[in-house]
Symmetry: C2
Subunit: 154 residues, 2 copies
DNA sequence: TATTGTTATACTCTATAACTATA
DNA sequence: TATAGTTATAGAGTATAACAATA
């Protein structure tokens, strides 16, 4: 088998992984009343602490208008509140509600459990080979100019 | 370092890969006047040959209404045409235009090139370790009940 | 004058439900 | 009666541009 077709097979597997995880994430979040975009905002908020919508827009890489919509949705469903900024009366501080904090903590636990389910049954040598190759792939992607804002990773 | 935190790190890398590839695909397709959803329909059409919207809806896992919208967009931008079904006058056959075929062939070439860029510089042993681990991960995901319709992979 | 966030407007993707034409 | 596809309607995410309030 040619290298090209082996590369192509590996790329296909990566794309299958992308589709699989994206669909699963979408469905799981929907059960909690969240979308992927809104959850990404919550993850950013978790790392940042209370912050302005301007900061969220930059971290998420979306427009200010989009953040207004996402925060509107999260306020309506009770995950966050808008609080006045202590020194800048133009700005608002987006802050978790108790429900929002509980939800994000539950998601962190679920991610830990998911990691165990994925890898705990894998021989150590196999796991090491996989993570090494994955790191190489990410390095190559960065070299190719693909960058992203780390909003999902904890 | 605990297994849990190693698992967590690997999962974070996978999620980074997901975000990175998704963003890159979105941007590349936008340059050709396509969205990810519309391109996915074209890939399905490439595998199926001319087919009804009903078939496309099932393969893509979306509603008939959604396919109407996607095909509307692809017709307006010149990638496909609706042709009458030879035997069933209710149905339409969605078919590539020349531009649509040329686009899909260019994407296939680009994917091949992308595979080479990703893996050609990787030592054979590293590549084998990565693909073996990746296959294990996909098996585990299937065992966990995550399935998908293979619309992206060629 | 510059910045924060909103309203106004528009496009895409998604869904359910009602409807038309055909099988 | 069932199926293929559309129209009607709605919600979510995305964007640009104009605007208000404040810095």
């Amino acid at each position: 088998m040619s290298d090209d077709s082996r590369f192509r097979g590996a790329l296909d597997h990566i794309l299958e992984l992308v589709v699989l995880l994206n669909d699963d994430m979408t469905q799981s979040l929907a059960k909690e009343g969240l979308t992927v975009s809104r959850a990404t905002l919550l993850w950013t908020l978790r790392q940042r602490g209370p912050c302005t919508q301007r900061v969220l827009a930059e971290d998420l890489g979306v427009s200010a208008r989009t953040v207004t919509g996402l925060v509107d949705g999260l306020v309506a469903t009770g995950f966050v509140v808008r609080e006045p900024h202590p020194t800048d009366r133009r700005a608002t501080l987006v802050t978790f509600t108790e429900r929002g904090e509980a939800t994000i903590r539950a998601q962190e636990r679920a991610q830990g459990e998911f990691g165990r389910q994925l890898f705990a049954g894998m021989p150590a040598e196999r796991f090491d080979g996989f993570t090494a190759g994955l790191a190489d792939v990410l390095d190559t992607l960065h070299d190719l100019g693909l960058t992203h804002r780390p909003a999902v990773t904890a």
